[in-house]
């Protein structure tokens, strides 16, 4: 039986599991600061575990993506082995980062070892574009019609107020050129056609067996009973157009502007 309950795990296991895997008397509070599993074999096992469990979001080489960059020499939520262990084990609340509740402790340590190795590369890619010029590109191309920055703009796309802190430069560039490369589930689109032939489309907010809800390009919340619909389309494409038509400078400046957005105000 494999349906994991976070609450159950934390209540019952957080203390016990760690006690059991180290000498008696230890608890989560005295989890070692230094990773005990750092041999070459551990690193290789950690690499494979990372590719299977982490690379999908963080990039196969830690270059980032939907998840944070891990190869820049600096982490956002803690740098010590122990801190990274706890993040991998428990996940991060209010983010897309899940925990690895059923992974053996040794495997978590091996992932920590590999993540630290990635981090030592210090390969942080810094945006080279001019952020001020990028702001003009942002305005000229109507990005604010769909995106919101610090309370201003549209609702259709993701809020970008701190996108620079969340996404790697590489991922920002890719999102502009290939918007369908990594479409977050929260921003999936849907198009519906009613039995009277009326079409509506927007962000897919909620759906069950009997109803469907979306937010259209005007920010309006629309509710449909499925008995009123003759067709529901869930296109795999993002509503966002690609910006391959931008010049290289425009693109890099826009990436520079987005990368400079670090904190919600």
């Amino acid at each position: 039986m494999l349906r994991i309950s976070l609450i159950a795990y934390c209540l019952m296991s957080c203390a016990l599991v760690l006690q059991a895997q180290r000498p008696a008397g230890q608890s989560r509070s005295n989890l070692p600061d230094t990773n005990p599993y750092t041999s070459a074999a551990d690193l290789e096992a950690g690499r494979k575990l990372y590719i299977g469990k982490c690379g999908h979001c963080h990039g196969q080489n830690g270059e980032g993506g939907r998840g944070a960059t891990l190869n820049t020499g600096q982490f956002r939520h803690g740098n010590s082995d122990r801190e990274i262990f706890l993040i991998i084990r428990n996940g991060l609340p209010n983010t897309e980062m899940p925990g690895t509740f059923n992974a053996p402790e040794v495997d978590v340590w091996r992932i920590v070892a590999y993540v630290q190795q990635l981090n030592r590369q210090g390969l942080k890619e810094t945006a080279t574009g001019d952020a001020a010029a990028g702001l003009l590109v942002y305005g000229k191309n109507g990005c604010a019609a769909c995106h919101r920055i610090n309370g201003k703009g549209g609702f259709l796309g993701p809020d970008l107020s701190d996108i620079g802190a969340k996404r790697a430069v590489r991922h920002l560039r890719e999102s502009l050129l290939e918007p369908n490369a990594d479409l977050p589930l929260d921003y999936r689109t849907v198009e519906v056609i009613t039995i009277t032939g009326k079409r509506s489309s927007g962000i897919h907010l909620n759906e069950d067996e009997y109803s469907l809800h979306l937010r259209d390009s005007q920010g309006s919340l629309l509710s449909f009973l499925k008995t009123e619909l003759k067709e529901i389309k869930l296109p795999r494409e993002s509503l966002m157009p690609d910006y391959k038509s931008l010049s290289k400078d425009e693109l890099e400046n826009l990436v520079g502007y987005l990368s400079s957005l670090r904190q919600k105000q």
Partner: protein, 541 residues
């Protein structure tokens, strides 16, 4: 441990007035003879499976396909606990149910008001893989029986909630836990164990209902020298799993218990347990008096996908290939529907009911011919169907003798199967050897579910009702030509049992991990189901 006695309990204990005030309802004590004839008391719901054959069917027909559109919520009982997986028992207008972790509540089934609440405090910390759940009770005479998360079997006075006796099933410090509703057979309480994700050695027990003394134990993983022990390498049998965490069925004529077993341990890394790993992922037929093994059938030898065979075995007297047979049928978690002769264990048929990729075929003896490339890997293998939660799981199916159809929920999905180093057993620690998650990688529309109506003698699907995402709810069918079940989005619904046409639904607003039941309260038919942490009762307006 604390017992909360409400005024209602004292009134109940002192009064001989039946709570339900239904002229046809029979109250306590519930004898074994009454359990044998449970289908003749549709005003009550006397056992986890509705009867010994686990038909989860009711002869009640006040609510019908013609009037079910008038079904309305009557009352709500709030558990204030997450993940309710319990099936209640109802006797003469009193509902007995459990809530996590191992509490018992008696309710007035007419109003949903609590008569008494027994709050169980776990005696020790317990390693549990999958939530603090409990799935229900058994009742004999005036005594309720519950297994607890810390691996005890408790007997409670049904009138007051007072503890009559407590027996240790196993040491919770060694990762043993218990979640299944017990089963009464004659004067014994049959109780299953859980904990195969923690490295236990599984068993099924029988206890004396009066004293709590253990009468027999069948180890589901044989020790060295015992039959089947050759299917385990080295010392792997010591932590071999094969738990018994879902209530089985019983044939009084054959005096055989039919009970499914769970995965071998560690779940996803089978390297340390070479062999078929008997009796994991199997259906056992045990003598009810002695616990001796009459026969077994293993659905998934040497499982590495956590495909427990802890589905509810349904007993049918029907024909197979034109010959009258005593059958036991089961939609297995591994994606195949199986028919066995329940007298001999003879394999009769296996048929996939969801997409499956792991077996090329099931051979004439019932053994799967396994496809290559279907094993968990270190990087994760997402090309395996069904997913870790299987085509079916523990949720109750229903057999309807009027339509002669078997109804059950099916799950169409895949997941990513990981294999990691084989763990060493340590108390309090998981014993997975991998994982079966990775759901976030798949688009929601890649997974869905069905309520399937199947001709049980052939495995032919007569109709299916599509559900947006894979369901966890049980199924109830009734003589009102109705099938009830629920979706993960919280919609409780009713279908025409013959055609599958949807007739009614209600948005309960949260996930459903339990099954509906039905009974009479003051002569009127109610249907109840736990939705989220609410138990909701429905009746005609």
């Amino acid at each position: 441990m604390r017992i909360v006695l409400l005024l209602g309990a004292m009134v109940l204990a002192l009064s001989s007035t039946p709570m339900g005030q239904s002229p046809s309802s029979r109250g306590l004590p519930v004898t074994y003879e009454r359990l044998l004839k449970a289908p003749t008391e549709p005003d009550n719901w006397l056992t986890y499976g509705g009867d010994y054959r686990s038909h989860h069917y009711s002869r009640l027909n006040q609510i019908t396909a013609d009037n079910v559109h008038r079904l309305r919520a009557k009352w709500i009982y709030q558990f204030h606990r997450p993940k309710v997986e319990a099936t209640p028992i109802v006797v003469d207008g009193v509902m007995y149910l459990t809530r996590p972790p191992s509490d018992v509540i008696a309710l007035d089934a007419e109003t949903g008001r609590a008569l008494w609440t027994f709050e169980y405090r776990l005696a020790s910390s317990v390693y549990i893989c999958c939530g603090q759940v409990n799935r229900g009770l058994a009742l004999l005479g005036t005594t309720l029986f519950i297994t607890t998360l810390d691996a005890k079997l408790l007997a409670l006075d049904a009138l007051s909630g007072r503890v009559l006796w407590k027996s240790d099933m196993a040491d919770p410090g060694l990762n043993y836990t218990a979640t299944a509703a017990p089963l009464i057979i004659k004067d014994k309480v049959i109780a299953g164990i859980a904990g195969a994700e923690g490295g236990i050695r599984g068993f099924l027990d029988a206890y004396d209902a009066k004293t709590g003394e253990r009468v027999w134990r069948f180890w589901t993983v044989p020790a060295p020298g015992e039959a089947g022990s050759e299917t385990w390498g080295g010392d792997s049998w010591k932590y071999g799993g094969a738990s018994t965490w879902i209530t089985g069925s019983y044939d009084p004529e054959l005096n055989l218990i039919y009970w499914g077993t769970g995965n071998p341990g560690p779940d996803y890394n089978g390297d340390v347990r070479p062999g078929d790993n008997l009796y994991s992922c199997s259906l056992l037929a045990l003598d009810a008096d002695t616990g001796k093994l009459k026969w077994y059938f293993q659905f998934t030898p040497h499982d590495t996908h956590d495909w427990d065979a802890t589905q509810v075995p349904v007993l049918l007297d029907s024909t197979f290939d034109g010959r009258p047979r005593k059958l036991v049928v089961m939609p297995s978690r591994n994606g195949f529907y199986y028919i066995l002769d329940r007298q001999t264990g003879e394999f009769l048929l296996a048929k996939p009911y969801v997409k499956q990729t792991w077996a090329k075929e099931i051979d004439r003896k019932g053994r799967p011919v396994v496809n290559p490339g279907q094993e968990p890997t270190l990087e994760g293998n997402d090309q395996i169907w069904p997913g870790v939660d299987g085509g079916n799981n523990w949720m109750s199916p229903s057999y309807n003798p009027d339509t002669k159809l078997l109804y059950f929920n099916a799950r169409e999905e895949r997941r990513r199967f990981f294999k990691s180093d084989a763990p060493e057993f340590r108390p309090g620690d998981a014993f997975f050897g991998g994982g079966g998650g990775g759901g976030a990688r798949f688009r929601p529309e890649e997974s869905w579910g069905y309520l399937i109506a199947m001709a049980p003698e052939t495995g032919e699907i007569r109709w299916q009702h599509r559900i947006l995402s894979p369901p966890w709810a049980g199924v109830l069918s009734t003589a009102g030509n109705l099938v009830f079940s629920a979706t993960p989005s919280g919609n409780f619904y009713a279908l025409d049992a013959r055609t599958g046409k949807e007739l009614w639904h209600f948005n309960g607003g949260d996930r459903v991990f339990a099954g509906p039941i039905t009974f009479l309260s003051r002569g009127k038919q109610l249907v109840t189901i736990p939705i989220g942490d609410n138990l909701i009762a429905f009746g005609l307006d």
